[in-house]
Homo-oligomer: 133 residues x 2
DNA sequence: GACAAATGATACAACAATGGTATCATTTGT
DNA sequence: ACAAATGATACCATTGTTGTATCATTTGTC
C-alpha cells in the first residue's frame, strides 16, 4: 500500500533534474547516468510524462526533454494520476452492488474523507517545492 | 492503491456482525450466509483474526467465533496491520541505498507526515464506532 | 462410541499490478 | 549518410491479491 510507487518516484526525480536544467534539453541518457535507473523503464516513463503534457520532447540528435509547465504547476498528485490512472485511495471494494451493510458505508465515508485530505496534501507538493529545499 | 482491501473489508464486516451477537458464538457458516462472501476465503481470514488475538474461537460442534476484545478496542488500523503485516503508507522505494537526492528526501518527509495522519485517523475508527451508526 | 458440525493448518492456483526488457521505426543535427 | 536521440509497442518476471482445496482435529449430540 505504497503512496509513491517506483515509477512515480523515478518520474519525480527526473522532473527535478530536468527542472534544474533551466529549459536546456535533457536526454534520457543523462538522466540514467545521474539517477542510476534502468534505462528502458525510465524511457517508457518519460514518454508517459510527455503524452500527459508534463514534458516537451525533441526527437533526433541532441534531442531530449524539457518541462512543458512551470515547476510550481507540476504537482505530485498529478504524477500519481498519470501513472495510476487517477488518484483514489478509496475505490469501493464492491463495485456492482450497493454496500451490503450500513456500517461499511459509514467506514466508506471516513475513508473518503481521508482520501480527500491526502489528495489535497499531495496537490500542495510541487516540483518547485521539492527543488527549493 | 486501495486503503481498504477485500480481506480487510470482509474482516470488518464480519467483526461487526460478531460484535452484534453479544458474546454468542457466530460460526463461519452464519457469516457466509449473511455476508455472501466466499466461504474458504472468509474462513482463512477469520483464522488470521483469531491468531492475531482479535477473535476467540471455539472448535467442535456448535463452535464459532466471538470477540476477544471490546468493540471500542478494535481499530481499523489494526485490522489492516494484521492483513498487510503492519501499516505504512510510506515505505521507501529505495530500501538499501540512502535516497540519492535531497529533493526526494524532502518528499519523503511529507509522505511520512501524511502516513502518520492517515494512521491516526484509522486508529480513531473502531468497530464500536462503525456499529453505533 | 459414532457421527456430524465446527475450526486448525497448509498448500496450491488464478488473476492483476508492478517493475522491467526488447525491438524496431522515426526524427534530426552533423 | 550516419549517429544519436525519441516514439510506439509488445513482451516478460515478480509480487500481491483473491481466492480454492484438502485433510486433520476438536467437540456437542444421539
Amino acid at each position: 500500500m505504497k503512496l509513491i510507487t517506483r515509477d512515480v518516484d523515478y518520474a519525480i526525480r527526473a522532473l527535478c533534474l530536468i527542472a534544474g536544467g533551466e529549459d536546456k534539453l535533457v536526454s534520457a541518457g543523462e538522466l540514467v547516468s545521474v539517477l542510476g535507473i534502468p534505462r528502458p523503464f525510465l524511457r517508457k516513463n518519460l514518454q508517459k510524462l510527455h503524452k500527459a503534457g508534463i514534458l516537451n520532447a525533441c526527437q533526433g540528435h541532441r534531442g531530449g526533454f524539457s518541462l512543458a509547465l512551470r515547476p510550481d504547476k507540476i504537482r505530485v498528485v498529478d504524477i500519481i494520476s498519470i501513472f495510476q490512472g487517477g488518484f483514489r485511495l478509496n475505490e469501493c471494494v464492491f463495485k456492482k452492488q450497493p454496500c451490503p451493510r450500513r456500517a461499511t458505508c459509514r467506514l466508506k465515508k471516513q475513508i473518503d474523507a481521508i482520501g480527500r485530505y491526502v489528495a489535497r496534501k499531495l496537490a500542495g507538493i510541487t516540483i518547485a517545492y521539492l527543488l527549493k529545499g
